[in-house]
Every structure is written in C-alpha cells, then in structure tokens.
Assembly symmetry: C2
C-alpha cells in the first residue's frame, strides 16, 4: 500500500495564451508541491485554453502548444518540481491529417523529470451542442495507464467519460486504483445533477477512485463552472472544489503497490482533510455563471469598464447588478436615456438602482437627437419608434468610443427568441448577459439577488418597482410588451417547448396552448434568425442557447409537402 497526494488544479486559462496559462500551472504546482502533492492535475487544454476552434488547424499554434508543454516540463524541473508528476492538456500534432483539415489531437501530457513521459489523445470527440471537435481534432486510440507511486492510474479526457464504449470499457477491464479525467466541460443549469451521478457510476465500473478536474472561467459564450471532484469507489464525494472560481484542492489516494516500471513519488508526511464544497441552488449557480461570464469577458479582453443603458426596467437593472458583481460598481457606468414616452417612474427606478448599486450614473435625454431624424425623414409608426432605440445605441457606442467601455446588451432570451428588439438600437453592445435567460427567469434572478442581499444585511439592489411593473419598451405612449406578445409566463412556456425542447407545433398545441399563438411565436422565431446572427454573444446557461448551439438557416420556408 502506498499513499500519494494528488492536487486538483481548477485553473482558468485564456485561449491562445500559452505563456500565461503555463505560468498559472507553474504557480499551482509550486503551491501544491509545498503542501505535499506529487501528482498535480490540470484541466483539458490547460496549455492552450478551450475551445480553440479553428486555431486547432494552425500549424503555428500547434507548434506553440507543443513547445509550450516541453518548456513547461523544463521549467518545472528547474524550479525543483521535477520529481512530481504534472498532467496538462494541450494541442498535439497528429501523425496524419484528416480529409478536410483536422490535424491535431486534443491531448493530455504527463510531465515528470523535466520531460513528457507519456501522452494520451482524446478518443471521443463531441460534435453536437456547442462542440465542433470532429471538425478540428483527430481522434486518438489506445489507453494510458501509469503507476504513480503505487497508484495505478488510468487517464481520460472529458467526452471519453460520457460514453460507455471505447476507453471507459477498456479502463474498466484493468485493475486500477484511480482514473484521472481532465475536462473543459461547460456549465448549464443543473449540469452537476448529471455530472455527479455519472462520476459515481463510472467509479463503480472502474472499481477505482475518480479524479475529475474541470476548467473554470468564462470564454466568450461558454462558462466553465469548475466543480472539480473526487469520488471514491462507492460513489461518495470525498472532495469537491468551489464552483465558479479558481481552486487548488488536495487529496491523498491509496495505491496497491508499485510495479517494476512505476514512477517513484514521495508520500506525504502529514494528513489533510479534503475540502467538500456545498452544492449550490440552481438559481445561485445561474447568477454566478452570469457574473463569471461577464467578468472574464471584460478582464480577458482588457476592457477598463462597462457601460449600459438603464431604462428603469428589470433587464437593465439585473444587468447592472451582474456587472457590479463582476467587476465592481466603480467600473460600471449606467446611462439613463429618457424620451418623451419615458415615465417618471422609470426615470426614478433607474436612478434608484444606480444609487443602490453605487455605479456611475448619467442622464442623456434623446428628444433633441431624435427630432431631426423624424423631421428630415418624415418618420411615423415603427420607424419612429425604432429611431429612439437607435439614438440610445448611438449614445452608448459614442461613450464606448470615447472611454473604452464594453457596452452590455441588456435584452433577454425571450426577446432574442421572438426578435422583440430594435436592430442597432437596444441590440448594440459586445456582450449580452441575459441572452440565455428567459424573462421569467430574469425576474426570479432579481428576486433571488435582492433576497440574497437582504440575508447579508445589505440593501436589495433592484428596485421592487422594476420587478413588479408591467414590462414596456416605452417607445410610444402607454405601450407594454403585452401589446405585441403573450404574457411572459405563457411566452416562456411556449419558447421552452419550441426552442429548448425543439418540439413540433402540433405537440405544443397538444400540450394545451392556443394554436394561433403557437404558430405566431414559431413564425417570429424563424423570422428573427437574421437578428440573432448579428447579436452580441452572451453566457450560455441552458442546454439550448442561441448561437453555436442552435444552427438554423436565415432563409427558410416551412411547408408540409404535397400530401
């Protein structure tokens, strides 16, 4: 029997930043080595970041990734950590390119003694949902098992774990003490409820401890939630890292003796109690995912600050609080842009929000900007309404040009689904925090965030009036969203069927919804695809987000056939 200390380095890489990502690994190794760890595991593609998309076909980038791994091995040895085992994920050139251009593996390298002593290429490549891995990677073959100081350890990469055929079956046939799985597994609400049962099932199949290390952080539209964990052979969670933040957690794993070609590792001399983080309620996890998505988009892209329009409505209020939670209120600039149709209540609510949040606040009325357009072009109806939204977009973009702000687009998923927005008006901006959040969930998040503040003795940041009043775009007198759309509880239920579950119109009608309404909503969804194609990205929190997860034509005409 041996006992080896493993470290789970839940890191937050930046795509392309081989230097920065390598330095994060060095820091994690240094820290955990000092605490007795001799096997340090980092996430899938920890050298390159994930997803790299078509960078995987760049000869230059593959070379950088491979050189990064060998440099890291050298660096770790020269820093005095050569006797540890460090597991990293990287892009590795494949022996043969595939028809069409994929030329690299999504690989894992085991570093020891200043060099790469073993590697493994991911075998199951997800090519559905948000993933395009068959496009960019060549699948590997074979399995990797190493004796790490007496702990006989198998290795897998992310999707390999989710499918029962291939590497899972092959590892299950071996006599293993542990299976290490490195991952860049994106968050969606409730993901932990599928992830942990799967880990427990696999632990039983392997008859081994499973060490699951996931990335954390926002990368464009994806949020990685961490939630790295160790489950023992009975399926019990014996370590669980914090979610939505970088973490470095240690655990000792027992092995059944050293084989003749095993890697000698120093056993720890003390005892540790592994951290077991709390489960988060879905609503809190969703909020944290949105905050992390915004924070990392801002910081990884180097924006000094965020600006957004504050209408007094619920969407902009929630966005402002997310922004303040992400980067601090002092870096958030709210702009009220009232028109002649803006109610006093809306203006009050916008100001009250800014005061409670503590962000910057400016008022830029649009009347004198809009009138020249209306007069010169003789605008009426929708054209006149849209000019107001577009004047607001121009103001925000001008402020961005002058001050470098990232502009947040405040529209929610219900609006994005049916195209209830003015192109180049309220759609302007680089990042849309609520893009994957249905309106009814926006309200839930607002209530949860207020209650959360109250439970900490803080003032609830979102004005109650913004939560309770009927939603309105305020582009004409007494307008409400429900002039154009069904009530949001009905709309969101229909959208859940048509968008999230891809149900047919017939089945939604069979579920009890009004046929004319369902057909109208389906038409609005299809007809606004061109708007979505030009929309800002935003953090994915569902299993059917608009964007890379749902690829549909703009030009489409649904007809049933001749029958």
């Amino acid at each position: 029997m041996s006992r080896i200390r493993f470290a789970l380095a839940q890191l937050n890489p930046i795509v392309g930043d081989v230097t920065g990502n390598s330095l994060s690994i060095v820091a994690a190794v240094s820290d955990s080595y000092a605490r007795g760890a001799r096997v340090i595991v980092t996430p899938e593609m920890s050298i390159t970041g994930y997803p790299v998309d078509d960078l995987a076909s760049s000869t230059d980038f593959i070379r950088q990734s491979e050189a990064g791994v060998t440099s890291l091995a050298t660096r770790l040895a020269s820093d005095g950590f050569g006797d540890a085992v460090v597991v990293v994920g990287y892009l590795a050139e494949a022996a043969q390119a595939e028809f069409g251009g994929a030329r690299a593996h999504n690989s894992l390298a085991v570093l020891h003694d200043g060099r790469v002593i073993a590697s493994y290429a991911k075998r199951h490549l997800p090519n559905y949902s948000v993933f395009d891995e068959e496009r960019v990677f060549v699948p590997g073959d074979g399995t990797l098992v190493l004796d790490l100081g007496g702990v006989t350890t198998g290795f897998l990469i992310c999707e390999d774990l989710w499918r029962s055929d291939g590497p899972v079956t092959e590892l299950a046939a071996k006599n293993l003490d542990a299976v290490v799985i490195i991952n860049a597994s994106p968050f969606d609400t409730g993901k932990d409820d599928t992830r942990f049962p799967l880990l427990a099932t696999r632990a039983a199949e392997f008859g081994a401890t499973v060490v699951y290390v996931n990335a954390v952080g926002g990368q464009d539209d994806l949020v990685f939630d961490g939630d790295s964990a160790v489950l023992d052979i009975t399926g019990s969670t014996v370590l669980r890292a914090a979610r939505f933040e970088s973490a470095l957690e240690l655990i000792d794993i027992a092995g059944n003796g050293t084989s003749s070609d095993g890697i000698a590792l120093t056993e720890p001399t003390d005892d540790i109690t592994p951290f077991i983080g709390d489960d988060l309620p879905d609503i809190e996890a969703t909020w944290q995912a949105l905050v992390l998505g915004v924070r990392d988009y801002v910081t990884k892209n180097g924006f000094p600050s965020i600006a957004l329009g504050l209408s007094g409505g619920i969407d902009s209020a929630v966005c402002a609080v997310i922004a303040a939670d992400a980067i601090g209120a002092s870096r958030v600039f709210g702009v009220s842009m009232p028109s002649k149709y803006s109610s006093d209540g809306s203006k009050d609510d916008a100001r009250a929000l800014a005061e409670t949040v503590g962000c910057h606040y400016d008022v830029q009325p649009i009347a004198e900007l809009v009138t020249p357009f209306e007069t010169q072009l003789g605008l009426t109806g929708v054209a006149a309404e849209n000019i107001q939204a577009r004047a607001r977009g121009m103001i925000l973009m001008a402020l961005s040009n002058q001050h470098g702000h990232l502009i947040l687009t405040t529209g929610n998923k219900s609006e994005v689904a049916v195209g209830y927005s003015t192109m180049y008006g309220d759609t302007v901006g680089g990042f849309a925090p609520l893009k994957d959040v249905f309106k009814t969930l926006v309200w839930d998040l607002a209530r949860w965030r207020n209650a959360s503040a109250e439970s900490r003795g803080e003032a609830p940041p979102i004005p109650v009036n913004s939560i309770t009043k009927p939603p309105s775009a305020e582009l004409r007198p007494d307008q409400t969203d429900q002039d154009s759309l069904p009530p949001y509880d009905v709309l969101d239920a229909i959208l859940d069927h048509l968008v999230s579950r891809r149900d047919s119109i017939e089945s939604v009608v069979a579920a009890g919804f009004d046929r004319a309404t369902v057909e109208r909503i389906a038409g609005l969804i299809a007809g606004s695809e061109w708007k979505r194609r030009q929309g800002a990205i935003g953090p994915r929190i569902s299993r059917m987000a608009f964007g890379r997860e749902r690829r549909l034509p703009i030009t489409v005409r649904h007809t049933p056939g001749l029958g």
Copy 2:
C-alpha cells in the same frame, strides 16, 4: 444494348419548402418526360433544400421530408409519370440516433411506379470548411446499384465522390454503365477547375459514364453554381448545363442489357444533341455568383426592394450594380448621405452611378442629424467620426422600416478582415454582397462589369472616377483609407496569406513583407472578430470566407509559451 434518356434537373430549392420544392420536381419531370426522358435526376436534398443545419434533428421536419417524398411519388404516378424513374434527395430518419443527437440520413430516394423503390444514404459526411454534416447526419452504409432499362447505374451523394475510399472503391469494383451523383456543392472561384478533373478521374475508375447533378441558387451565405455535367468514360464532357441558373438538360446513355430484375423503361424514339455550356472566366463566374446570391436572398425572403447608401466610392457602386443585375434597377433605392466632409466629386459620382444604373436616388444630408449628438455628448475624434457613419445607418434602417427594403451592407472583405468599419454604422444591413471580395477584386470586378457593358454596346455603369480615386471613408477632412491601412495591393496580399492560407506571421515575413506591418494586420484581424460575429452574411466566393468557414474565438491572446 439499350438507350435510355436521362434528364439532369438542376433545380433551385428553398430550405424547408417541401411543397414548393416538390412542385419544382413535378414540373421538371413533366417537361423532360414529354421530351423522352425516363430517368430524371434532381440534386442532393432536392426535397428539403440544403443545408438544413439543425433542422436535420427536428422530428417534425424529418417526418415532413419523408412524407414529402412519398407524396411526390404518388403525385408523379397520378400525373402519368409513374413509369419513369425519378431520383430525389431528402432527409430520412436513421434506424438509430447517434450520441449527441444526429438522427437522420442525407439520403437519395428512387421513385418509380408511385412509390420509393430504393434508397441510399450518404456515407462520407463533410465536417470541415462550411460543412457540419457529422453534426446533423448519421452516415449510411452499403451501395446502391439499379438496372435502369438496361443501364446498370450506381448512386453516390456529393462528398462520396470526393473521397477515394468506401463507396467509390466499391462501385468501381462493379460493372456499371453509369454512376449518378447528386450534389449540393457550393461555389467558390475556380471550383470547376477541381470538379471536372475529379469527374474525369472517377469516370475512368468506374469505367462508366458519370452523371453529375448539382443544385443551383443562393442559400444564405452559400451559392450553388449548378454546372451539372455528364462525362463519358474517356473523361470527355458530353453535357454541361449553364451555371448560376436553373436548367433541365437531357442526354441518352447506353446500357449493356437488362438484368432479370431490371426496371423496364421506354427508350427514346428521336435523337438529341446534349447542351455543352461554355466555361466562364473566373471573374465573370464571381460576378454571377454575387448576383445570384443577392437575388435569391431577396426573393426567397420576400423583400420587395433593396436600399443602400451610395457614397460615390467603389464598394457602394459595385453593390448597386450587383443589386440592379439581381432584381432590376426599378427595385433598387440608392441613398446619398453626404456630410460636410463629402467632396463634390463623391456626390457627383453617386448621382452619376444612380443615373446610369437607373435606380431610385435620394439625397439625405447628415449634418443636421449629427450635430445634436456632437453637441450633447461633446464628441471628438473617432467618436465624432463614427457618429456620422451611424447616422447613415439610422437613415437606411428607418427607410427599411418604412418601406420594407433589404439594406445591403457595402463593406468589402479587406475591411471586414481588419475591422475597418463603424459598428452599427456602415455595417448595418441584412446582406453584404462584398463580404468575401477583397478590395483589389472589387476593382477588378468593376472594370470587368464596365467592359462587359461596353462589349454589349451599353453604357459602363460604374463611374471611372469611383474606380480610380483613392478610397476614403470621408469621415474627416482629406482622409484616405491609406492613412490607417497599407496600400490595398499590399494589404490584400498579406490578408491572402494570413486569412486565406492561414500562414503564420513568420512565413509571411519570410515571403518578403514588412514584419511590423504583418504583425499589425494580424492584430487587427484578431481584434475585430467581435465585429465579424455581428456582421451581415454575404455570398461566399472563396475557399476561406468569414463566417461558418472560419471559426475563431473573440477572446484570444496569442503568446509563444515559456521557451
């Protein structure tokens, strides 16, 4: 020996329009049957249109496609064509869904006698370039060979032909008279120069006549050029349909006798001379592809008209002529939107263009629209420059809202590559004809189109001054594009390396370009990815178009590693 008349129905389906697409097939069958054809071949996915993207995972749409095929078989029989063989492409439910959700085949059905007598599922699924077929389709297995009135015929679908393994090898081992390939193969400049040699090679390998039927038409960002053809066993082209338009071409193919289970077909009683269309010079093919892309986006989406800004520059001039060629000048609305920086020359060139083209022409000065923004917000520098472009975008969108125009975005590929544009300003619009056309090619197209007009005795539509003057955004006094960018011949050469060929910075420098310039351009390309994500779609004419063909992260930081 037998002789059977084949028809190549080069159709232009609309994605989703099972009824309309089926009626087009009925019309093609009716027409060619009357002229003696008894085997009528339509393109890949002729029932559903192509590409269907994630519609392929819709149970509803699969059902519609399958019902559409059986209804079509019934309809053809009831119309008196039951004794003919009709080959269609469609979406067919797979026996088993794949992990991740693909649940349908990209299939071919052979209709005869009022029913589907045989089918074949595409085996090689392209998942590179603009294709995502491994995402949405389940690959088939096996081959299909039928005796069609004594003509022993094998069947393939598009990508199957391009790879030498699998179905090509299996069919080559059989004793065939003909191989029918149905395709939805998108155009890129020079595609015919790879397509025809491949067809000749395959004809020799099969020892059979190859019957290649391609779709035609624009579908969002893809243009299908038709170019359907028949090559005999020696590789000679014995039939070639017109490109960039629907066509129905006939040819008689000889067979070596009827097998016992062959399909009896009536032989023709007359002789025909198959059509052999001319090869098109690349520049002319490119122009036609742009025109077809615009025309089909307008007509398939039901726009009554097109509007675009006319600056007097080359890009908007070329777009206006493409628009007029696509849908007629009477449906094109040009808008001159001069500022205080617009030269008299520019205004004259815009008006001259509109007069020659014969499109509608309106002048909307922006001075009085811009001043209130500058004054209220205290704008200077880039923020003030961009307000001008955004005011123009607001004018165009207001006209679209009032009249239903499709707005064309006039930016070219060189600008799109480096982000030389004002977001929500000159980028507004639903379709970008020049999105895949580098600036130097825009000039070439302008010269070609003028020369082409002159050769027909028409007035050259594009003012010479628009072609010869230095390009300028005219957002400040005496501005030219070359204040910010290298000369376009240099820029386009660098972009060809970095974008089209995905060359590394080192290799571009090695090719003789200035390192600082190359690094600056590479930085501009990476830094403007967020703009491209929000840009309008436009017709793909190259082998590396922005959009679905080039998938790169917005958040990215390139560093070489620790080494």
